[in-house]
């Protein structure tokens, strides 16, 4: 599980306890992002607490996804992408040259806006992240696939046809499969970019319940356009506006007593 090739560098698992004390899972210092000449994230600093749900809200195009994708370095391959600043996860700067991006992404999982299962069986979808790590023992795979599907609240629905194509599942089931696939790798952080925006209300409720249960073990960051969703499931909320962090506090505080006028206007639906 070592993120960095060198021996003397601390790895994530070792760090967990000390981080619990300092109460910071991800620490962002003055992060800036450019796509070519366009500055999409304009110097954001914030600390994200472990074992909590943090919601990112803000109008379309304000840089929420860009900012979120910094934490698992999914922007790295975008043409013209450039970033400045420091992002530390469990005390390790993840933009350090020695970081193995693949290792980082095993620690920081991601669920996308549109369910994107692989065109393979349900089982293969969940086992994929483990197989690419070289795990091939059938017993280990079976048990971890089952565990992940149970965690994602999908096991009962699919246990009898794990061989079925994942594309045959409903949209909501597909999204829970994508969550299971992420959980199987056992990350400590899960990034979710509008995970329910393509789903019906019932599937959305299921996933919200799921997220609620997961925060015991994971640090979850969720981007959402749905104010009710943010207030229902998150402990902290960050409001972004054109590349800047306007307000960041406990969800209750932000939704009941916002400090900034702009935040109030947004959450009451007066713009955006």
């Amino acid at each position: 599980m070592e993120l960095v090739a060198e021996k003397n560098t601390k790895n994530f698992t070792m760090n967990k306890e000390s981080e619990q004390e300092s109460k910071t899972k991800i620490s962002i210092k003055n992060a800036r992002v450019w796509y070519g000449d366009f500055e999409a994230v304009k110097g954001i600093s914030m600390d994200i607490k472990p074992n909590s749900v943090t919601a990112f809200i803000g109008p379309s195009g304000c840089g929420k996804s860009t900012f979120l994708r910094l934490f698992n370095r999914m922007n790295d391959y975008i043409d013209g992408f450039r970033m400045e600043g420091k992002i530390k996860i469990d005390g390790t700067n993840i933009y350090n040259k020695k970081i193995h991006v693949e290792e980082l992404r095993k620690e920081v999982g991601m669920v996308f806006q549109k369910p994107n299962p692989f065109p393979k069986s349900i089982y293969e979808n969940v086992a994929y992240g483990l197989k690419i790590q070289g795990i091939s023992d059938k017993k280990v795979l079976d048990s971890r696939v089952e565990k992940a599907l149970r965690q994602a609240d999908l096991w009962e629905e699919v246990k009898d046809d794990l061989k079925k194509s994942a594309l045959a599942l409903s949209g909501g089931q597909q999204q829970r499969l994508c969550i299971a696939r992420t959980l199987a790798v056992e990350p400590s952080i899960i990034l979710m970019d509008e995970p329910t925006s393509a789903l019906d209300p019932i599937s959305t409720a299921k996933i919200e319940n799921l997220i609620f249960g997961l925060k015991e073990k994971y640090t979850i960051i969720i981007v959402t356009h749905n104010m009710q969703q943010a207030s229902r499931i998150s402990d902290y909320t960050a409001f972004f506006y054109i590349g800047e962090l306007v307000e960041y506090s406990k969800t209750k505080t932000l939704f009941t007593k916002p400090e900034k006028k702009r935040t109030e206007n947004y959450i009451t639906g007066r713009f955006g």
Partner: protein, 284 residues
Amino acid sequence: MNKIQVNRWKDQLFKIWGIGCTLVGLILLVLFIGDILIDGIMRIDWGFVMNLPSRKAEKSGIYTALMGSLWILALTTIIAFPIGVAAAIYLEEYAKKGRFSALLEINISNLAGVPSIIYGLLGLEVFVRILNLGASVLAGSLTLSLLILPIIIVATRESIKAVPSTIRDASYALGASKWQTIWNQILPASSGGILTGVILSLSRAVGETAPLIVVGALAYVPFAPSNPMEEFSVLPIQIFNWISRPQHGFIENAAAAIIILLLVTFMMNAVAVYYRNKWQKKWN
């Protein structure tokens, strides 16, 4: 007449013109195939397929040419398939998008349109003379591989491009490396399209005559090749050879051989169409 009527009339006219044009192609094809069938179908029997070529038309068979074609087909597949797919993967996934890769791209597309006899001349110089392979099955296969490489590369790139980027994202987000993503997700997802491209290009290779004549394929070989270094003939050359003879028996032979060659290419195309449909279904 008002404007709507005029437009409708034009519409009709164009439709009739279109039907006419389609029919010309179809009728010619039917006439051609019908003519060949009448001439050749009676000539096809097991002996025709298994006999060696002979000076007497009724004793002649296509065995050596058919075997030559199969050898060429197999070797060309072995050579062109991995190289073409690897090149396409490099261009699509690894090469930095820039002026150089744009130049490369244009050149590959242009190569697909170079007359096949030019490839024959290249093969003659490089494989037959410089590499000293002689007029062998191997030299012929290498030459045809060059000929179909651009087609395979273009088809493979198109299929890779068609894989939704969400699949890539999902794989990377789970900690897969680039190579793992290509091998486990991109290639399986694009395999139908790649296979279609490869089969269609191979069916073109089976019908090629000119480059193989330039490389030195023979019109008459006494035996089927038993290894890649031996001399060879192929079906189209055999057909050409028979057609240029005056005796009627050989014309019949040529027609029969054409039927077999057509069967081979139709079958390959059918397989290609099958895979294409299967592949399209997967994504829609």
